[in-house]
């Protein structure tokens, strides 16, 4: 369980059951309200910090310099802590009721100036500091109205500025951002066609009568498609799951003037009359992506309910009846929202398309290894550098399946490993006939004894699975082991519920349980590893790695 410290400038009624949902997911400690600095002081305990700042609390004292001092104390605490810990630091701010609008119509009021000063500083920090996140609550508060969010009675009675409704929104925002700090966003958008990306039923109404284009509701569908296109650019995988005749659908894609989405943006599709649940499962297998990273968007409540019931892990959207709401809804959808878009994200569509193609061809070819030899696999080792580190961190965050221990290293953590030994952390990039897959693997090694090299991290993106790339990587790890005269490679398997494939890798490559080797077991017992977990070893000198012929140059 992640450890979270929550501090606030005034009371947020920590004993209220409104916090229950968060308390069940995280180990949460609240500091006394008003004290927003102490969570930053203890460097020994590594926890995530959530700070709730009510601007009015900072300007209660009349004296000018108190605000300046209070805010600079906060900025400095954040800067200092971020150097010592890579755990997220999250600040949420609300301005509260602003000054009289007539007064500030001509001249900025003092409080306005102060608030801008605060925001500018936090904006600066969020740009400069990797693990610092900043949220302006007023963006969400204003949707409900300040009169509903703030409660003067609660303030005078309990030193809490927010109403219960306001607190609920605050809790929701904290839950949202914590969730994204610790969990990867969804990857796949599964779309229906009729009455979803256009109005009307193409099979019945015909191409010309579809509602899509120039005015009225037609523009809402266009805007909806535009928002989807933006998601595609951020790396969201678009698939179609539609009960239709395939030709009819592609006819709209090819011939309708107002279509924004194009056929080549669709990574995979099932356009048939089968159950959508069955189709979704097939698509997830083709892409090798878990169904829990799927978002399902269909206008039909019956289809929605079927998917909800049979595939609860899929995020099914309860679409509003009024399509006018859709563009905004998808734009603000949290499922796909990520903190930053990397260069690799932009290539996603091509990569997954080639993945789907590859799977098709493997299934056609009877001798898989011969087939693999023919597709010009070109792996390459990259060292951890400024250019590659954000991808390395991203891989740690997102890789769930082929991941031995699922340790979510931050950039700071990775740099620490690199500092110990340059060779002990590296990435692998892969190109083959199916495309440039980009950086797909990260390896971190750790010395636990003069004879023992430990696989701290071995992860590989699921989109290149099936190429025996892991065998090639293992041979490179062996080379490093030999270079530094380690005789044994130690691996630990931590079951995350999603990483069976990583366990399979250990078995296929003949890793041996540590319990079979008393000598090694004794050394491990003295190390920081938990001897009761699943620990395995390989004898570097004696083990012959399989499948390497695929990667031998002709």
């Amino acid at each position: 369980m992640h450890k979270i410290k929550i501090c606030s400038s005034s009371s947020i009624i920590e004993s209220n059951t409104i916090w229950k949902s968060l308390k069940s997911k995280y180990e949460i400690k609240f500091t006394n309200y008003g004290d927003v600095i102490s969570p930053f002081l203890n460097n020994k305990i590594d926890h995530t910090i959530v700070m709730v700042l009510m601007f009015e609390d900072l300007i209660r004292e009349e004296k000018e310099n108190i605000f300046k001092r209070k805010s600079s104390d906060i900025f400095n605490a954040i800067k200092k802590k971020s150097k010592a810990s890579s755990k997220p630091i999250i600040v949420l701010v609300s301005k509260g009721f602003g000054p009289n609008i007539l007064r500030s119509a001509k001249k900025n009021q003092n409080d306005d100036v102060k608030y801008k000063f605060l925001i500018n500083n936090f904006d600066n920090l969020k740009r400069k500091i990797k693990n610092f996140y900043f949220i302006e609550l007023d963006n969400v508060f204003s949707l409900e109205g300040y009169n509903n969010i703030y409660s003067n009675r609660n303030w005078y009675y309990a030193r809490c500025r927010l109403s219960i409704q306001g607190l609920q929104i605050l809790v929701n925002q904290i839950a949202k951002i914590l969730n994204r700090c610790f969990n990867a966003p969804c990857k796949v958008l599964a779309l229906d066609c009729d009455n979803t990306i256009w109005g009307g039923v193409v099979g019945e109404d015909g191409l010309k009568n579809l509602i899509l284009g120039q005015d009225g509701l037609g523009t809402a569908y266009v805007d909806f498609q535009r928002e989807i296109k933006k998601l595609v650019k951020e790396g969201v995988i678009l698939v179609i799951c539609s009960k239709n005749n395939e030709n009819d659908v592609w006819k709209v894609f090819n011939e309708h003037d107002s279509m924004v989405l194009t056929k080549d943006e669709i990574v995979s599709y099932k356009i048939n009359w089968d159950e959508k649940t069955k189709n979704l499962i097939q698509i997830s297998e083709e892409l090798n992506l878990n169904l829990d990273s799927f978002v399902f968007w269909d206008d039909n409540p019956v289809e929605q309910n079927k998917v909800k019931k049979l595939l609860p892990q899929v995020k099914t959207i309860e679409t509003p009846k009024d399509v006018c709401e859709w563009p905004n809804l998808i734009k603000n959808l949290d499922y796909f929202a990520k903190f930053k878009v990397t260069k690799d994200d932009n290539k996603k569509v091509e990569q997954y398309k080639s993945r789907a193609n590859f799977v098709k061809n493997v299934n056609i070819n009877s001798n898989v290894n011969d087939f693999l030899k023919s597709i010009n696999l070109k792996p390459e080792i990259l060292s951890l550098s400024e250019k590659t580190i954000s991808r390395a961190e991203q891989l740690c965050k997102k890789t769930n399946q082929f991941n031995l221990r699922t340790i979510r290293h931050s950039e700071t953590d990775l740099n620490k490993i690199k500092k110990k030994n340059n060779d002990f952390v590296f990435l692998v990039k892969l190109v083959d006939d199916y495309g440039d897959h980009g950086i797909v693997s990260l390896i971190c090694l750790e010395k636990i004894d003069k004879d023992l090299l430990f696989l701290n991290t071995f992860l590989m993106s699921c989109r290149v699975i099936g190429r025996h790339l892991e065998s090639w990587i293992l041979s490179k790890i062996f080379n490093i082991a030999k270079k530094y005269k380690f005789n044994f490679l130690i691996a630990e398997f931590k079951n995350s519920g999603k990483n069976n494939i990583a366990e399979k890798f250990l078995k296929e490559h003949k890793f041996i349980s540590i319990s079979k080797n008393v000598k090694l077991k004794k050394i491990i017992e003295k190390s920081s590893l938990d001897i009761n977990s699943s620990i395995f070893y390989l004898d570097v000198k004696k083990t012959k790695i399989q499948n390497l012929d695929i990667y031998e140059k002709k």
């Binding site: 009624i13 004993s15 209220n16 059951t17 009675r153 005078y156 009675y157 309990a158 219960i164």
Partner: protein, 81 residues
């Protein structure tokens, strides 16, 4: 038992999940349950406001210290039994 009694009991259970709420709640007052201290009292008030769709003013909030008073004020606020 009256409808509001049932509802109040549910609110008590929700607000003080660590305490056992007796069947008859009429005589309950602040201090009787483990977490029903002054902050717990405020949480109870907030929960009653939500569940009965009422809003208490400062005077009423300061007055409420027992189920009896809650019922009295609910009656005044025209919450039907």
């Amino acid at each position: 038992m009256k409808k509001n009694d049932l509802k109040l009991r549910k609110v008590l259970m929700g607000t003080f999940p660590n305490s056992k709420i007796p069947k008859n709640i009429n005589e309950l007052k602040m201090g009787d349950l483990k977490d029903w201290d002054s902050m717990g009292n405020f949480n109870l008030i907030l929960s009653i406001e939500q569940n009965f769709s009422v809003k208490f003013n400062m005077d009423q909030v300061e007055q409420i210290k027992s189920i009896k008073e809650i019922k009295k004020i609910l009656k005044k606020s025209n919450v039907e039994d």
